[in-house]
Structure formats: structure tokens, C-alpha cells
Point group: C2
Chain length 354, copies 2
């Protein structure tokens, strides 16, 4: 398809997050916005104005029309999760590459339909997990692979934010018919992905949700946690939800190293991000302090992580299909499904089967 | 007993940790070392020399002799946990105030014998949990009580260190006859205490150990974790053990505040310690960064935390008996017992009954 020219994006819907991704498409050197579709033409028009779209961007009053636009190479899909199968499968059939918001599906059965459609139609798939594309993430991977860090023993992640009453009443993420996975599908997706990332996507053998999950009146998860166990004895925990102050922690502890960051999903600032690293930590004489003290590592970035995501997606869309992101998405969804199953079964352990 | 003069300490045994506490007694303005006892007089003599004890310190070849010394007001007991009941009860009967190393007992039944002996004999009890006495701890308490922080929603603590092969073979903390609670009694004590501290010692209603606990060949816990659940929905997790790089994390998340520190047991440096605080955290426009960014808070201290612990203990030993520390120790032990019971029962939830 598109060689040596920017990937032309169509955007399905006017979700809040589409504002950030629109800017990212504009910032990415190999991508451009070609079209936006909404069920309301007015809404799409307003969105285009507010986000300073070029006049060249076509505004459609349906998602179908975006998919039917032959100048559109790829779609960004920030629709409610319950609509993902329908629109992602249709997009694939229309030969559009797919950048899909998380959670990618309500369960792995649905995701498999999407991935099958992508494969059958030779289109690229990627989930829109932005932090994966920050150069800090690569730098941290190098750290984890450093033999001095040693075998990874445990991972602990947290993603919470304190949703306001309007969110808790009206956001799609609390509606059983729109985003039935609630806080698990939203904040828990990031926690789960970070844990899998840390172990280079080795699936845990079992997952046990932690007692104390919180639900709204419709039974949608507002907050929850889980512990994971791997064949080799590694463990992980996460805590997530909509009910507590913004926190985005990843802690990875190896035999001889500890990595910390407190802003893994969205870095504190756009231009640089840091992590703390402790290696072969010990104590001073008489155990009155640490030796060495953990060090801070700063990683700068010219483009924000979401633009790097769009850039990488567009690069892949311009070459042979790469199934790496499909595989990573599927593993994340498998584990999310297992956490959900554990909650549904009264916090019993659930075997994770690939 | 001792009014307006230093509390005279007798030390039972020559444990490594007694070196640090000896220095702390010397640094505390209201304490002094009067005696040390070991089953080996040579060992005690060598310990006295190595730790530059004054000639005035009496060296005994038994623990009993220390307890029989009428110039000794208080004892510091760093003996293996399995010996705590015997020696702490005997010390109380000899009217010695007791600064007892953690874990204070193998279970709450044992601890109750110790506390009953202290009460019957009118002596002060305190467990040697040093970080409780750092001024940072008070400062963090103020933060948690700040109405802006909001209701506490979850607490997450980690204490691990990477023990060397000699420790894993020979340390008292891996021996079923000496410290049967292993890593739970040692590192898990601190994690549990930090969680209870954060909620001002409100006991959780239930405790569930996390799958993946690691044991040595004698069945002693080397690493484990647990989740706690309170009546009001608060949750907590901890991870602890001897098998991963030194990490000492406390994360407390309230409705509108997040507190982080990564050196809660032993501050990185002796003269000052810090914590990170995020309050009413939100995002910049387009969610490309945090607003506000968390802030670092530094607390200096003239005396190291262990000297402040000795100072506070000595102050209490010079006044009316204060049962605050006995109560806090007992709650910590109750929760440790529940975690142990959960592990023993295949990771079932255990109700915590005061």
C-alpha cells in the first residue's frame, strides 16, 4: 500500500481521547488525518474545528463512510469497547489498518474475530497503548535485560484515578452495555500490560483477583486488583480503578535490581521522563543507610509518546504486516479475561491458557 | 524508677543488630549501656571491644545475670524469636523494661504472655521497629490526616532484600526452631506495620495470602505476599522476602492524594529522608502530562531513627507505663498470624479477630 507517503488516518468517533491522538497524527512525520466520522455531522464538524483540522480532512456523518473512503489507509478506533468487533472487523474487510483503543475487546473470543479479520485482509493491527512507545520504555527494557539486574522476581503495578461524580454516572467506562470491563478494562489494561511487558510477555500460569473489588449498581467494576503467578515462581500484583487519586506505578524487582516509576501511563511531563534504578543495593556499615543509593535516569523525547505510537503504527502500515502487537494485545486480553473470571468466581485462582 | 537520669540498658546477646542499637543507646541523650550478656563471655567481651563500650559496662556470661543486675533498668532483646517468651517474661518479672526485637513473638498467644508479664510487673514494652520513630513518619501522618488527601483507599508495601547463600543456609531467620516466621516475621513485619500505621491501626476484617509463597526445605517462608480488606472497602497488599533486591516501598493512595516512599524501613541516608506527595493530581490539557506534578518532601533528623526509638523508649521507661506500643505490636502480630494461617490453609481468606 502506502510507500514513502504518510499514512492517511480516518478517525471513528469524536471521543475525548481522539483529540490527543489527532494531535499525535499531526505530529507524526509519516501520518496525516484524512477523515473523521461521527453519527452526528455537527459533532464531527465541531470536533474538526476545535482540533484545527485542515480543510482537506473529510467529515462524514457515519463510520461506514470513513471506511468506504479509498483515500483512508488506516483507522483509529476510540469507540466504546462493545462496538470494537463490529467496526474493527468491518474496517479490516475494507482493508484499513487498525489502531484500536484499549481494551481492544470485551474478551479474547471477540478479539480473535478482530485479529482473524486483520490477518485475512492483510492489515496491520496495534492497540493504542501509548506508553509502550516512549523511549523510556526501551531504556527500561535494557535495564531489565542487564545481567546485573538478575532474574525478575516480582512486579507490582498501580493505575488509579479519582473519577468525578459525572464520570461515575455517565462515562462509557461505567456502562455495562458500552465498556463492560469498567475499571479493569481501562486502568487494569495498563497494569496488566506493564506486568506482561516486564516479563517479556511470558503468560502467568494463574491469576487470582484480590478480594475487595468494587462494583457500581450495574455490576461494572470500578476498582479491583489481582495477583499473578508464573511457572518459575515469579509473582505480580496490580491495583486499579476509578476511585483513588491519580497513581501510575510500576515496580519491578529482580534478584539484584529494582526499577521504579510513578508515571508509567502518562509521563509527568511531555519532553522527558524518568525512572529510578537500584542495582545490587546494600547497606552502609551498621545498616544506617543504603549503599549504593538508587539513581534517577532521565530519558528525553522529541515527540510525545502518542506521536511515536502513531509513527510506529504508520511505519508498520507501510511495510509487511507485523503480528507482534496482535500477539501482545491478545496476551493482555487473555489475562484481563482471567482476572474477570476470577472476580466472577469469587476470587478463585484461574489458570491462564494461551 | 529512673527519674531524671539515663535509662541503663542491658543487652541480651550479641546479635548483629545489637551493634546498631548499641550505638543508638549511646547517641540517645537519656540512655546508657550498663551491661551485656552472652552465653559466651568471650563473645560478649569481643562485642564490647568492637563496639567501643565504656569500661563501666558489665559483661556477663549469661542472660540471667543481666536480668539479676539491679543497675539495669531496661533490656534490649535481639534474641531469636523462639526465645522471646522465655526471656521477655523473665525480664518483666525482674522489673526490666523491654525493648523487644521484631517479630515480637511466634504468635499472638506467646505475645500475650509477654504483655501480661509486662503489665503485671509495671514495665514498659516497645517493639524495636525503628522507622516508627523517624520524624518523617510523623510528617507523613500529618499528610495522611490532611483533609485534602481524602479517605484512604489502598496501601501497598514491599520489603525485600537479596540474602546471600550463607544467610539462606545459616541465618536464624531461616531456621524453623529459631525464627519460624522466616521472611514473614522479618520483612513482612515491617510491611504489615506500615499498612496498619497508614490506617491508624484499624485492623482489616480479613487477610488473604497471595499464591506464590516460597519456602525453604524446612518449610520456613522465604518470600510471600498478602492482601488485606477492611470493613469500609479499603484494601492493601504487601510483598516481602529474602529473595529479591533491597526494596522498601510504601504507597498510600487516598481519594485525592498519593504518598510514596522507597526507603521506609531504613532511610537512604541517616541525616534526612524524603517522601513524595501527589495531591489532587490531574492532567494538563489533552492529557499530555500531570498537573500538578508530585512534590518531594525532605525531613531532616539530628538523631538517627534508632536513637530516637531508644530515646522515646527511655522516656516512657522513666514515666508511667504507656500501653500504646503493646497495642500496636499486638495488632501487627495478629495480622501476621492471619497471613500465616492463610498460607497454611492454601491461601484462603482469614478473618482477623481482635
Amino acid at each position: 500500500m502506502a510507500e514513502n507517503r504518510p499514512i492517511r488516518f480516518g478517525i471513528l468517533g469524536c471521543a475525548d481521547i481522539a483529540r490527543k491522538v489527532s494531535r499525535a497524527i499531526t505530529l507524526a512525520p509519516n501520518a496525516t488525518i484524512a477523515a473523521i466520522g461521527s453519527r452526528s455531522a455537527d459533532k464531527a464538524k465541531r470536533f474538526a474545528v476545535e482540533n484545527r483540522y485542515d480543510d482537506s480532512v473529510t467529515i462524514y456523518s457515519s463510520y461506514e463512510a470513513v471506511l468506504d473512503d479509498e483515500t483512508v489507509d488506516a483507522v483509529y478506533v476510540p469507540l466504546p469497547t462493545s462496538l470494537h468487533v463490529r467496526w474493527a472487523v468491518m474496517a479490516a474487510k475494507k482493508k484499513k489498518h487498525i489502531l484500536l483503543e484499549k481494551p481492544v475487546a470485551l474478551n479474547v473470543v471477540e478479539l480473535d474475530q478482530i485479529l482473524a479479520a486483520c490477518e485475512a485482509n492483510g492489515v496491520q493491527f496495534m492497540d493504542a497503548t501509548m506508553w509502550m512507545h516512549h523511549p523510556r520504555t526501551n531504556k527500561m527494557r535494557e535495564t531489565l535485560l542487564d545481567p546485573r539486574f538478575g532474574e525478575i522476581k516480582s512486579i507490582h503495578t498501580i493505575f488509579t484515578f479519582s473519577a468525578d461524580p459525572d464520570f461515575l454516572e455517565n462515562d462509557i467506562r461505567v456502562k455495562p452495555d458500552l465498556d463492560a470491563l469498567g475499571g479493569l478494562g481501562d486502568t487494569g489494561w495498563y497494569c496488566t500490560r506493564a506486568i506482561l511487558w516486564a516479563v517479556d510477555y511470558e503468560l502467568p500460569k494463574s491469576v487470582t483477583a484480590l478480594r475487595g473489588a468494587v462494583f457500581n449498581n450495574s455490576g461494572v467494576i470500578l476498582a479491583c486488583g489481582a495477583s499473578f503467578l508464573w511457572e518459575d515462581g515469579k509473582v505480580a500484583t496490580f491495583h486499579c480503578g476509578f476511585l483513588a487519586n491519580l497513581s501510575m506505578d510500576v515496580t519491578v524487582i529482580g534478584k539484584n535490581g529494582t526499577l521504579h516509576l510513578n508515571d508509567f501511563v502518562i509521563p509527568f511531563t511531555e519532553k522527558y521522563a524518568s525512572f529510578s534504578l537500584a542495582m545490587e543495593s546494600g547497606f552502609t556499615e551498621l545498616v544506617t543507610g543504603w549503599l549504593p543509593i538508587p539513581s534517577q535516569h532521565v530519558v528525553t523525547t522529541e515527540l510525545p509518546q502518542e506521536a511515536l505510537m502513531v509513527k510506529e503504527f504508520s511505519r508498520l502500515a507501510s511495510s509487511e504486516v507485523d503480528k507482534k502487537w496482535a500477539t501482545i494485545s491478545r496476551k493482555t486480553q487473555l489475562v484481563i479475561d482471567a482476572v474477570k473470571a476470577s472476580i466472577d468466581k469469587g476470587f478463585e485462582p484461574i489458570e491462564v491458557v494461551a
